[in-house]
């Protein structure tokens, strides 16, 4: 007579208290990074290994990109692996170690003081990432559900740890002779382990779960996702071998083709998810997120030109390398975060404010908790700043660089404005 369906389900999600500090930290980091970019825009024609560039890149990669992914993933990993987060305490500790380590590390780079406190900061970040890995891995072990998305996530975290450990070695090698080659020689390895292994794999794993979910799409193709997983990891492993075996630059096209194939397949996956969607109207946040998938193609294009240049002239074109880094951190990674923040954070804030009031009266919609007009302005300023900055670096026009950087500062101010609006939202129970 009574409930004839399967077992009762456990659905306890991660507390908002765990997630919100990561979002706040990431938002402030974005603001700081754009301000530093504006201040350092005069140095963009010099080598990429400058104190200011190093500080900006690490604030963007760790403070902005990684902290945001860590925060969101503490909430989303349970959705992806169909199991509870193993420990909220580990999540708090992970936040604390990263939150302390990142600004000290960035400051160390900014003033080019790579001695003891910068070294300890790097270890603090590694410890934070290690705790994050343990938390996610234990969550997976406990959940007993296996799916392709979970493999993307856990492999991405392993690459992130590897990136951080290589970074620590590079940092220490400025003081102690730890590495057989010069520290600078390891920068491409450090950068690509992080960009491809961590960011690309993580974004693809989470995106392939969330994009069809938000669009309510009928499309699913696990086989295709496994191919993507194989191409990304295969390409990255090939790059590592080529690096350590010191093979010639021509070989770099092999990992490039492998990762390009993965990106093409992922774009194909997103396109078919979009075409097979039941929910016809696509909101602005999803549009920005889908745009970021297309923006993955831009770094690949730059990389083809950079490798071709290396083969042809045996020298590196600094403007191209700086543009390549810029279109990754301020382009693709930033675009997906700008979109996904307002696809996830309003729901977290809504839950914080109205969870105990659900069903007891009229509550506002989560999407009404932030200012959509400000969001649109933020998006327009961001796109204008991004395009202009990329062009300005390639052309080497200082005034254009400063205008573009100012647009990005304004965009980050508007982003933070909306974040503040969300964080300070009070109940408007009608």
């Amino acid at each position: 007579m009574f409930p004839s369906f399967g077992n009762k389900a456990d659905t306890k999600t991660t507390s908002y208290k765990v997630v919100l500090p990561f979002y706040a930290y990431a938002a402030l980091s974005f603001l700081v990074a754009t301000v530093l970019l504006f201040l350092a825009s005069g140095n963009m024609g010099s080598h990429y290994f400058t104190p200011h560039n190093l500080a900006i890149v690490h604030i963007m990669a760790l403070g902005w990109g990684t902290m945001m992914i860590l925060g969101a993933s503490h909430q989303l990993v349970p959705v992806m692996i169909e199991g509870k987060l193993y420990s909220e305490t580990l999540a708090y500790l992970s936040f604390a170690f990263a939150a302390i380590g990142i600004p000290i590390l960035a400051y160390g780079f900014y003033v080019l003081d790579l001695r003891i406190y910068t070294q300890w900061a790097s270890l603090s970040i590694v410890l934070s990432l290690l705790l994050y890995f343990v938390n996610v891995a234990m969550s997976m072990v406990k959940s007993k559900h296996e799916n392709v998305h979970a493999y993307f996530v856990v492999t991405a975290i392993l690459w992130l740890l590897t990136t951080a450990i290589v970074g620590v070695f590079i940092l220490y090698s400025f003081t102690y002779p730890l590495l057989p080659r010069t520290s600078l020689a390891y920068l491409p390895l450090h950068a690509h382990l992080g960009i491809v292994g961590w960011f690309l794999l993580m974004v693809m794993g989470v995106g392939s779960r969330l994009i069809p979910m938000f669009l309510i799409s009928k499309y699913s193709n696990n086989r295709q996702l496994w191919f993507i997983y194989g191409f990304v990891n295969g390409g990255l492993l090939a790059f590592v071998f080529i690096f350590f075996l010191n093979w010639s630059h021509e070989w770099l096209f092999l990992p490039l083709l492998s990762v390009a194939a993965a990106i093409a397949l992922f774009a194909h996956f997103c396109y078919h998810s979009y075409k097979a969607r039941i929910r016809k109207k696509v909101d602005e946040q999803m549009k920005v997120s889908l745009l970021s998938v297309l923006m993955m193609a831009l770094p690949m294009l730059f990389l083809v030109i950079i490798i071709a240049g290396l083969i042809a002239s045996k020298s590196e074109h600094i403007e191209l390398t700086i543009s390549y880094g810029f279109v990754i951190f301020f382009g693709w990674i930033t675009a997906i975060i700008l979109g996904m923040t307002f696809k996830t954070l309003p729901f977290i804030i809504w839950n914080r404010t109205y969870h105990h009031l659900a069903g007891k009266g009229k509550t506002p919609n989560p999407k009404d908790l932030f200012d959509e007009k400000i969001f649109k302005w933020m998006g327009m300023l961001y796109i204008a700043g991004f395009v202009l900055f990329t062009v300005a670096v390639l052309m080497g026009v200082l005034l254009l660089l400063q205008i573009a950087a100012a647009l990005l500062v304004l965009s980050s101010v508007l982003y933070n404005w909306n974040i503040l609006k969300l964080f300070t939202h009070k109940s408007q129970m009608r």
Partner: protein, 109 residues
């Protein structure tokens, strides 16, 4: 209206009408047309309403709010009954469970 199982079709209609006030905040569609309600049974001796429902995804961050709202909504319609809302993911939700009205709504949006 939907494929909801019940031991009392008349009361189930009242219950579903009440549950249509509960929205999935992300999608903007009510949980009945979204196909989240599987079963509504009535224990007349003990005066208990049993509602078995699902979510579009397990560990959905909005899950607790949706089930709380469903409970409150049923309490309002059946004040003399105790309400017991349970979640199941067996079978899991799929887009095929969305009603015709729900599909029309999503097509328009």
């Amino acid at each position: 209206m939907t494929n909801v199982i019940s031991n009392n079709n008349l009361k189930c209609t009242v219950a579903l009408a009440a549950l249509q006030d509960v929205m999935d905040p992300e999608i903007g569609l009510n949980i009945v047309d979204l196909g989240l309600i599987y079963q509504v049974d009535f224990d007349e001796e003990e005066k208990i309403v049993y509602c078995t429902m699902t979510l579009t995804t397990q560990f959905c961050p909005m899950g607790e709010s949706i089930t709380s709202a469903a409970t409150e909504s049923l309490k309002l319609s059946f004040p003399e009954y105790e309400v017991n809302v349970e979640l199941t993911f067996d079978p899991p939700w799929s887009h095929e469970l969305i009603s015709e009205a729900g599909r029309e709504f999503l097509n328009e949006r």
